[in-house]
Symmetry: C2
Subunit: 267 residues, 2 copies
């Protein structure tokens, strides 16, 4: 079992992965997970509501998600990005089937009822935010679809206990799915060729990171989005996933490439 996450932010490309999957899938038990942050930003801006971001006191940046943003996020991730991916895979003979976390309670989440954010040096509390942390995966649903010959293509949002759509992090969603399915491998494809010791400097790429050094890397030298990827990697490995690969989505054969050493492997 293999879970692949493709980023939706700037610097990511979808087509190379789709080509790679079309060549290498062959009906194997894989799940593709995706986000869509760049497209969400484009559509929100075109609709007159440019995205806003907030930073937690511990330094994580996330999308400010009021109800309207949650609806736009669902529309773009589950309706635009997801259906473009499914169409593109189907055109190449891959029997892709797209689902959001809402569908059949595929991803359930604890909504953060109050989030603390840092703004101009002050910490304030937001209570109308629709973000959350995944606390359940409907693994039976995925297993049933895989057994039926489908390649599930999964996107946020998730469903809260109160039945509200909530934005969840795509990397951590992929990790939760990999755990729930007992996957051997999780591949996180992103805008960089893996984990760099110095952000933005590919010559400092770490080819292999030991599980034991993961927490230290996240704490001391990884930056920005990569910190969340390391957190996702940690959650996956803690849950029994064998190894986590991180590499670039815009290279040719990104999936087979990263799994043959062109990125960072954590195990």
């Amino acid at each position: 079992m293999l879970v692949i996450k493709i980023g939706g932010g700037e610097g990511n490309a979808l087509e190379p992965l789709i080509e790679d999957i079309a060549r290498s899938w062959g009906g194997r038990p894989w799940v593709l997970v995706h986000g869509g942050s760049q497209r969400v930003g484009e559509v929100s801006t075109a609709l007159g509501r440019p995205p806003r971001f907030v930073t937690s006191p511990s330094g994580y940046t996330s999308r400010r998600t009021d109800r309207q943003t949650a609806l736009t996020f669902a529309m773009v991730c589950a309706g635009d990005v997801n259906k473009r991916i499914v169409e593109s895979l189907q055109r190449r003979g891959v029997n892709a089937l797209g689902l959001s976390g809402l569908d059949g309670r595929l991803l359930t989440a604890r909504r953060k009822k109050a989030i603390r954010v840092k703004e101009n040096g002050r910490t304030t509390v937001l209570r109308d935010d629709y973000t959350g942390t995944i606390d359940g995966v409907n693994a039976d649903l995925l297993r049933g679809l895989i057994a039926g010959g489908f390649l599930p293509v999964v996107s946020p949002p998730a469903l809260s206990e109160e039945g509200e759509m909530v934005n969840v992090d795509g990397d951590r969603a992929a990790a939760a799915i990999a755990r729930a399915l007992g996957a051997e491998s999780l591949v996180l494809l992103t805008g960089a060729d893996g984990l760099y010791r110095r952000a933005g400097d590919p010559s400092t790429r770490v080819g292999r990171l030991a599980r034991a050094d993961l927490a230290e890397a996240g704490r001391s030298w990884a930056e920005g989005r990569m910190r969340i990827k390391l957190k996702a990697a940690e959650e996956a490995l803690d849950g029994g996933v064998g190894r986590v690969w991180i590499g670039a989505s815009h290279r040719e054969n990104p999936l087979t490439g990263v799994m043959s050493g062109q990125g960072t492997v954590i195990s």
Copy 2:
């Protein structure tokens, strides 16, 4: 087996149906099909591309669907309308699962490679239109989900033979699904209390229409969208569906209401 279609045009309401399903579903083998034309129009307009419509030489009106329109249509139907419905049903305890026609090749269609349209009295031919007619339903996929305890919530677009997303009519999609599943009943919920002998005049509602009179009704006195509903009804009955109910979506208990005589039944 029961297939319910809820209209997405003006005059339709979603909430009464969702309440009715939440009260009456109880895990039974139902499929909900929806469109989203009004929402597609709103979002397209907000994105600076107001919808355009074309009329065929025989008088049917349909959405002009170039590639960009097809993408917006998929985003809004499968991502906005579909996920709002799924969220709303899940909040009420119904294990809804949303799919577009692309997903797992649920709905396949013959794309119309050239469509003839009438404009200012002249007939012209469009070759870049992404509309089509359904020629296949993945009934096994729906049966599997139903057996798994889910209520499938299905929306266009469908997938063409060439693997392109194509807009298909929602009523006829519902009819094709009802045929493929061997459904006893198809319920088409819309902005009117059934079929009227004089368009817009509820006092002329036809409570019961015999199968034998369907073609004549479509030809001689039904108008606009109702002609397509009658065509869908005909396709369903021809395919072995027991009866077709047509009624209003905005009434309280629209589903149970129309099935107890508050609309038009065709059999």
